[in-house]
């Protein structure tokens, strides 16, 4: 049963996946087991993304299936022990940029890969990033930006983190449509990633897990 559910999600058979999860719930299966199967499927989806078999549609569909299955088991979920998180990642679209599709996908992939992600949303001011680092204490900060104006916002944000004396406490990764290694150096970030799985790899590399 669990194996079938894993395959249904991983192979993008949405109707089958939801029916199987429903069936499992009604059959009295442990919700931990159901969510475990969903996470196992997400691992497969992530691997297929990395190998170039899957792309955005599959990440978004997998996210949608995971959300529906989570909603399904939610009534039972409150009783579960909290899953141990690998580490904390703070993320947001930088000042002036209100694009969020890329950031949302990165947030989602970090989350399903076991990181505790705090998403500050879009057009996040430099001060808001600094305040959130003080409060949330992340090991990794992700700066997202689609527009060319984001180059300077990223630079300003990194500089403010530096000035606040927090630079050696966090690793900073950046990403977005026009981001290159040139911009990574320009902004003073530690690394940049081309897609969501690269963000996961960077976080794993820096935090472990």
């Amino acid at each position: 049963m669990s194996k079938e559910l894993v395959n249904a999600i991983a192979d993008m058979r949405e109707e089958d996946a939801l029916a199987l999860a429903q069936e499992a719930m009604e059959g009295g299966m442990d919700p931990v087991g159901i969510l475990g199967a969903a996470r196992e499927a997400m691992d497969i989806v992530g691997k297929r993304f990395e190998t170039g078999e899957y792309f955005l549609p599959e990440l978004i569909m997998a996210g949608e299936m995971l959300k529906q299955i989570t909603d399904l088991v939610k009534p039972e979920l409150a009783k579960l022990p909290q899953v141990e998180r690998k580490g904390k990642v703070l993320i947001g679209s930088v000042a002036g940029d209100i694009h969020d599709i890329g950031k949302n996908i990165v947030t989602f992939m970090l989350d399903v890969n076991g990181f505790d992600v705090l998403d500050l949303g879009v057009d996040v001011s430099v001060a808001k990033f600094v305040d959130a680092i003080h409060e949330f204490k992340p090991q990794v900060v992700g700066l997202s930006g689609f527009l060319t104006l984001a180059f300077d916002s990223m630079k300003d944000t990194v500089q403010a983190i530096e000035e606040a004396g927090l630079r050696d406490q966090v690793k900073i990764m950046i990403g977005g449509g026009q981001i290159t290694d040139k911009i990574c150096a320009y902004a003073g970030a530690d690394a940049y990633g081309d897609d969501a799985m690269e963000a996961v790899s960077l976080a794993q590399q820096w935090i472990g897990g």
Partner: protein, 444 residues
């Protein structure tokens, strides 16, 4: 004239349009020197498009908002001060001497959107700070369940469902009658009733107001266009159209919605894309007829590397796009395919197109490979990055341009330009790019 056009072949139409583009009958230039410069520039762009070796590589930045920013204008000024925009653009053309300019397409009039209360974008002077560029807000403005209605009657759907949803001032247009019901005397009066309703009339008043503003804008921009040409600079875009997948995905269904539709509503999605093909062709050709410039800017979004697999690209994205491109070419116009992001995975697929009928303008695609795969099929343009233009040095820019000319520009059929708009580029880097083009780009 009309009859002649209908009996002409695509090649004859293209020849006639290109002749108008290069020779500009009846147009008065600022000086004989400017006229000679224009002819030289239009000729090298035409030669590159025709897969020939031009006298030299055409070179021009994708200027984006660089001219207005460089003139000290805010993004808000760019949307509200038309005369200021015109002045900034002329100063840019005079200073940098590009072979072509992009035109007024993205220099949009803010007041039109204020008047109509547009929901799909935020812009400076409205919700965004003055220094920020207008930005699109992703949402499912059209639901998956509405594909049938959209495909059955796109124009009716836009009039009565989409426009009332995305323009606050046009909500009353939801009451518009089904226009084909206006036939015969007995059926017409009931269809006229909505036009007598105060709220509908108010919506039309706002449309007239926005229309007046658009006319004021185009008077300035049209004048600017003529002045730019009079100085000897050619136009890089005479009209625009989109890939049907993007037309539906960008501002109707949204990225997430569209990506899920590929699994949940595949047939409906493909059908709607096909219904958009003639609309996109008409949009492009209509604009080219008005501007007299056959180059059609086609910004491509959701078909880039990473967005979908090649199999999905060939099923969902490429077929309707190819039909639009062929339709535009059939009318003697030239699709200029702006492939934002990377197109490295798609080169072999897009190479399946009649020879010498379009231009591929690349952003982050490997230009050496693009030349190898597409070189015999299409002129390629690009791809000096905004990152390099913003964060690099003039020497780095020059070195990159030289390398591009030697590889992508080998044996002609190449235009040296940027990937995305250079908005915040360093002026010295823009000069370096122009210099590199003139210094290294001479074929004879």
């Amino acid at each position: 004239m009309e009859k002649d056009w209908k009996t002409m072949t695509a090649e004859e139409r293209l020849a006639q349009r290109l002749d108008g583009y290069v020779n500009t009958p009846g147009f008065e230039f600022a000086s004989p020197e400017a006229e000679a410069l224009y002819r030289e520039r239009a000729t090298i762009i035409r030669d590159a498009f025709e897969l020939k070796v031009p006298a030299r590589v055409p070179v021009f930045p994708s200027e984006g908002f660089f001219p207005t920013l460089n003139a000290g204008m805010s993004m808000k000024d760019m949307m509200y001060d038309y005369e200021g925009v015109a002045k900034a653009l002329l100063a840019y053309i005079n200073e940098y001497q590009p072979d072509a300019w992009f035109g007024a397409l993205s220099l949009v009039p803010g007041r039109c959107f204020d008047i109509l209360d547009y929901k799909v974008y935020d812009w400076p002077g409205q919700k965004l700070a003055d220094h920020l560029v207008y930005q699109m807000k992703e949402d499912e403005y059209v639901k998956a369940s509405e594909y049938g209605a959209l495909a059955a009657d796109p124009s009716g759907f836009f009039l009565r469902t989409y426009l009332p949803r995305v323009f606050g001032a046009l909500e009353p247009l939801a009451k518009m009658p089904l226009l084909p019901s206006i036939q015969e005397m007995p059926m017409t009066p009931t269809a006229l009733i909505p036009f007598g309703m105060p709220d509908v009339q108010e919506a039309f008043k706002r449309l007239m107001e926005a229309g007046n503003e658009a006319v004021r804008w185009i008077q300035v921009m049209g004048g600017l266009g003529a002045q730019v040409r009079a100085l000897g600079c050619t136009d890089w875009a005479g009209g625009a159209a989109k890939a049907p997948f993007d037309a539906i995905g960008d501002t109707l269904r949204g990225t997430s919605g569209m990506m899920m539709d590929m699994y949940r509503n595949a047939d409906a999605l493909i059908e709607a894309c096909d219904r958009f093909v003639p609309l996109m062709v008409e949009m492009a050709v209509g604009a080219a007829n008005q501007t007299g410039v056959p180059l059609i800017f086609m910004p491509l979004h959701k078909g880039a590397d990473g967005f979908m697999s090649n199999r999905q690209f060939e099923k969902f994205y490429w077929p309707s796009l190819k039909k639009v491109m062929l339709g535009i070419a059939e009318e003697g116009c030239i699709p200029v395919m702006f492939a934002e992001g990377g197109y490295n995975q798609r080169l072999e697929i897009i190479a399946d197109f009649p020879k010498g009928k379009c231009i591929w303008w690349f952003d982050q695609t490997d230009m050496k490979r693009a030349k190898e795969v597409l070189g015999d099929v299409a002129c390629i343009a690009g791809n000096v990055s905004t990152a390099l233009m913003t964060a690099g040095t003039p020497d780095e820019v020059k070195a990159y341009c030289k390398e591009l000319i030697e590889t992508a520009g080998k044996d002609g059929a190449f235009i040296l330009t940027n990937g995305c708009g250079i908005d915040h580029a360093k002026p010295a880097n823009v000069k370096a790019m122009m210099e590199a083009g003139l210094e290294y780009g001479r074929y004879r």
